[in-house]
């Protein structure tokens, strides 16, 4: 009698995580290749300064690999990684606040950076970037996970350890604020 086939293959990420837990560096490298750019996009969208983006991505990945034993598969590995990125960015913001007088978003408003890129992004997108950065943390993360990363509310709720209803409310408040900002 033939053995029944599993209905779903184990996710490739899960297999890579298991391999990394056994000490396979190549598995860790593959996970970085898969998710580093999405993580960078999330962090940049949340207001990470360009100059620090590479360091922040590295730090989030290192923290994730160190804490991977605590990842129970409650959400996708990428979603979990993005929430760790949110923590890394929060810590970075605290350190920056201690060492700098001018808030980071002042830099955005003052028109620093490449003028060509700013023109490309457009005035509305620049205002949106500032608005997203000024949102309360949970609203910002829910908004980015939903609107930028295209995740379902259930996935977002599992990653942020909240309920689906609460995630919807945070998203609703974020959208309301951002619409007001853009009008």
């Amino acid at each position: 009698m033939a053995q029944p086939q599993p209905l779903t293959e184990p996710s490739p990420d899960a297999a890579l995580i298991a391999a990394w837990q056994r000490g396979d560096e190549q598995a860790a490298a593959e996970l970085v290749r898969r998710h580093a750019r999405a993580l960078a996009r999330f962090l940049a969208g949340a207001g990470a300064p360009d100059a620090d983006l590479d360091d922040l991505v590295q730090e989030a990945l290192i923290r994730a690999f160190r804490a991977v034993d605590r990842f129970r598969g409650q959400c996708q590995f990428r979603t979990w990684l993005l929430t760790i990125g949110g923590n890394v960015l929060k810590d970075h913001g605290r350190r920056a606040a201690r060492h700098t007088v001018v808030p980071l978003d002042e830099g955005l408003r003052s028109g620093d950076g490449d003028p060509h890129e700013r023109a490309e992004a457009g005035e509305a997108e620049a205002r949106l970037a500032v608005g997203v950065k000024e949102l309360p943390r949970l609203q910002r993360e829910v908004f980015l996970l939903r609107a930028q990363q295209g995740l379902e509310y259930g996935e977002i709720a599992a990653a942020l350890d909240t309920t689906e209803g609460a995630a919807r409310v945070h998203y609703h408040h974020a959208v309301k604020r951002l619409k007001e900002l853009l009008q």
Partner: protein, 139 residues
């Protein structure tokens, strides 16, 4: 609704340019290098933290339980209530004449107490006051 669609479309582009500039291979190499260089400490903390939390919780339960037990068994007003209760029981057994005698004794004792408070020295008492003191000592 259109505003929301527009907002989501813009949100999808947020951070795209910065992310495109990320050198993924260089980041990968740097992460692997750091993982090799920095030995993991998380596993030690993962069991240390719950251990410390358990110890702290046990201490809180111990101290809190002790305080609650102390309050339950050692009430400051209990002694006074017990004495009053016994005195009341004794007085109910007395006849009217005996009660009157007790009240007189009480008045005399209180008068004597006031005298003692003001003059302190027994040598200053007259004969009648000394007799009252003696009677009160006899009970």
């Amino acid at each position: 609704m259109n505003d929301e669609v527009r907002l989501e479309a813009m949100a999808q582009r947020l951070g795209t340019q910065a992310a495109e500039r990320l050198n993924v291979e260089r980041t990968t190499a740097a992460v692997i290098e750091r993982l090799r260089a920095e030995p993991p400490r998380a596993s030690r903390w993962s069991w240390m933290q719950p251990t410390w939390l358990r110890i702290a919780a046990a201490l809180v339960v111990l101290v809190g339980g002790g305080l609650i037990a102390r309050r339950a068994f050692v009430q400051p007003g209990n002694g006074g209530h017990a004495i009053a209760h016994f005195v009341r029981d004794d007085l109910t057994d007395l006849s009217r004449d005996q009660l009157r005698e007790v009240l007189n004794r009480l008045d005399e004792t209180l008068d004597l107490g006031r005298t003692q408070m003001s003059e302190v020295d027994l040598e200053n008492l007259d004969a009648q006051q000394l007799r009252a003191v003696l009677r009160s000592l006899e009970g």
